[in-house]
Symmetry: C3
Subunit: 350 residues, 3 copies
């Protein structure tokens, strides 16, 4: 159930230096990413139109890319402009290209119907390069469907259990009931914990003397983008009313991009707006998140193995599933709508 | 063709210490095994009823087990007794449990219809902890269906060919025709070799000066349990009549437990009743058996690869197949009977 | 689309020393190869007719082969001549054997209908042991269908792009248009480049001072044998008219043998007729070819992965595909003819 008509993160900007080719499969489509001499990113289907050889093993010649199997040369629009030993270039000798937008260090790609690609739909992730925030670039890879990872992000009751020594901490936080709001293209979750123990990854830096108030307020939007205002601060300053005092604030920015039906690229970053001149703090936060994401990965891959053993397992829903259930419903609806467009129902003639 | 309504060995007792969880898949069912504070072994389906996360990665809290994904807590009956952030526990929030019996160092499990589980059907394996016998605990793992291993055990003509330097020895023993008796739930095989060379694994310990009489007398019973009286002694003392003199006697005890259709847990032990105060003898016997079982494993995995290459290969039966043919017939019959119960034929209404 | 009624190379002669067994799967059939005491090579289906155990793990006893699972003994015709513990040998106790011809260091096998096996159809590869030529024995292994490798060999426009530092060199050579002649059982390709830079693997040995004329003239015949006259020499001596002066000449001899539908044995050699008394030259040429074949392997395996990602990719033909298109058409026709013979159409009775 992969949604094709949507913007996905294909790469970090830094993964595509000038004069290099990046091979990455997205929604089962192999893609070769590279930069024109102007710096603009180009995305080709990573199969030469001749025999399917990977263009990511090709040679960049200025603003042209040569397949290094039989030497066909392509311009930035994907049009073949040279075939060794042949004068006439058949007009169908073209490789498919995909709309690409580079914004705030992320390369966004649209592999569905290009006529529907509207860059204004790309969510705001300005924290990734905002001078008031600091973060490092994270990437991990799953051999599971992306929805199992979305489930994880849509129920943060898992924090104290999966991440006792990093993002988690006080098990009381799992029992705090979040507010779930339905958005047109996603879901907004607001979880507050008041007077609880701080999370270990923050406590290592802030060393708060007593209890804190903690919040995780995030939108999870289609196709699978996670944007969160989170943090904690000493209790007693009315954080819930917006009064942030000595807070450790974050803008966790995460994107899931299906590689195939059963594998997923996972881009993430944890911008913070305190101690922004101390790279060691930035690194320490990043490393704690990397450790925590490995904890999630262990659990989700294990869950995936359990679910795949037999097809008869039935999940029992609980109250904490509200956000994930709604999101899965949104995905199913969007998928049905896409299928209806690509396979329109024939009107029965009378 | 896996029989579900049967007792299988799930583990050695020593694999489930107090306060630890053992994950093991049995007949395609993932199982988490652990001990109540009383020492009684509990077997849960290794999937939390909520989202299928493995409970074997959970946390034991006295006589309760907590899923470490979202914190659901279960009592020893599998009933959910706590859901973080939720007052009411839905009655269907239960994980499946399985009948378990611990006996003579083996943990037996029944993953089929629990109402049919009768502990009196568990075969006698008292040699595993009888003070008159000594042995070590063996385990190996196959990536083949269990029946190929059963075939191997049901025709010991393979001993001199597969195990020339361990269990085998004199090729004359392969030509000794065994007596095969049909049992209701298995088959009894009796093989005698008289005046032959001793098997290397015994000769290393006993150093017999001349020819021996050798016997392998075993029951192989459903679903796949192998219980053998075997040994050898100097010829000329009428061993066949029960007169055991200076004998090396064993009670090989083996159990095959399908993990999946194409993988098998293999529990084994080789109790001996001589030199029982010499741990080096016990270790030497065990090590020889381990080496020999690796020889079987190499052959059976190779055979499996050959059989899987194409589906058109036809086996030519020979006389030595009597026991294995009968056993496979028993399995097929038992399987048919199980299917008939779980999928009863609808009586056609007239 | 594997052709069964054809001679394939099964092995280099040196792979089957006396008293050793070679296991090799050919067209999905596991084969055990060995030599009678006379030196004649015998090919058995590598499955004992009893239970399918691999005979390649058996024991040679003079001109007989014993299965080392249960001890059945077979003569060179595949007939079982001994079953331990059994007097009468059933007449159907036979393992299948295959026609084999050893010629010029190659062992040819026929796994299809033996009545059609005509050794006179084996192509001439005498350069492999002709005293006027020198070469070493090459083998590599692909996890792709053999036809992707055939495609590669049928369009040498790839030489400068895939092999810039070995077999390739001047990109002008890719633009030289080859002559393609249809043969009854294959295709003949003639490519000439005049006044071009020499290929690096030759230049390392010959160190030509200026431009060369280069040729690749080869037959690629069913099922998948590649026989080439290739070389280069200083320009200006009318090489095209057959006037070879200071030439580096080769008779590249290659054979693709499908192991399964998706894996291929690749036997190759690069005989040369200059500096034949200098083993270092022979080794240097061989090593350059080995390096180049690894370059092909990298490209073809990458192409295979791209093609397998989705089934909707459509190749755009170009002029350089003439030879490979014709060869694929020949294969498809031969395959259809084989199918028609093994599944004859029933004539409808009136």
């Amino acid at each position: 159930m992969l949604l094709r008509n949507a913007w996905y993160v294909a790469a970090w900007s830094s993964e595509i230096p000038v004069d290099e080719l990046l091979a990455r499969t997205i929604l089962n489509v192999p893609v070769a990413l590279w930069r024109e001499s102007s710096g603009k990113v180009v995305a080709f289907e990573d199969r030469c139109c001749h025999r399917g050889a990977p263009l990511s093993k090709g040679r960049l010649e200025g603003d042209q890319l040569r397949c290094m199997y039989h030497g066909l040369l392509f311009d930035t629009t994907g049009r073949c402009v040279e075939i060794p030993g042949q004068e006439r270039i058949p007009p169908q000798a073209k490789v498919r290209t995909f709309p690409v937008v580079e914004k705030h260090k992320w390369i966004w790609i649209w592999v569905g119907d290009a006529s529907l690609a509207d860059p204004s739909q790309i969510p705001d992730t300005h924290w990734l390069d905002d001078p008031e925030w600091r973060s490092l670039e994270g990437y991990t890879y799953y051999t599971t469907n992306y929805l199992l990872i979305a489930d994880n992000l849509l129920d943060l009751a898992h924090l104290p259990y999966v991440h006792p020594n990093t993002l988690g901490g006080d098990e009381a936080y799992a029992a705090c009931i979040p507010q779930v709001e339905k958005l047109e293209n996603g879901v907004r979750v607001t979880r507050w914990g008041e007077g609880i123990k701080p999370a270990p990854f923050v406590q290592k830096i802030k060393n708060y003397p007593g209890a804190v108030d903690r919040w995780n307020i995030y939108d999870f939007v289609l196709p699978s983008i996670f944007l969160m205002d989170s943090g904690m601060q000493p209790s007693g300053h009315n954080a819930k009313a917006g009064n942030r005092v000595n807070a450790a604030e974050f803008r966790s920015t995460q994107a899931l991009t299906p590689e195939t039906d059963e594998s997923t690229h996972y881009f993430f970053s944890q911008p913070h707006n305190f101690a922004i001149d101390d790279p060691e703090v930035t690194l320490a936060i990043h490393n704690q998140v990397v450790t925590a994401f490995q904890e999630d990965s262990d659990m989700i891959h294990a869950q995936d193995r359990m679910l795949k053993l037999t097809s008869d397992f039935k999940m029992i829903p609980i109250g904490a599933d509200a956000a994930l259930s709604y999101f899965r419903w949104l995905v199913a609806n969007a998928y049905k709508a896409e299928q209806a467009i690509s396979n329109p129902v024939k009107i029965q003639e009378v």
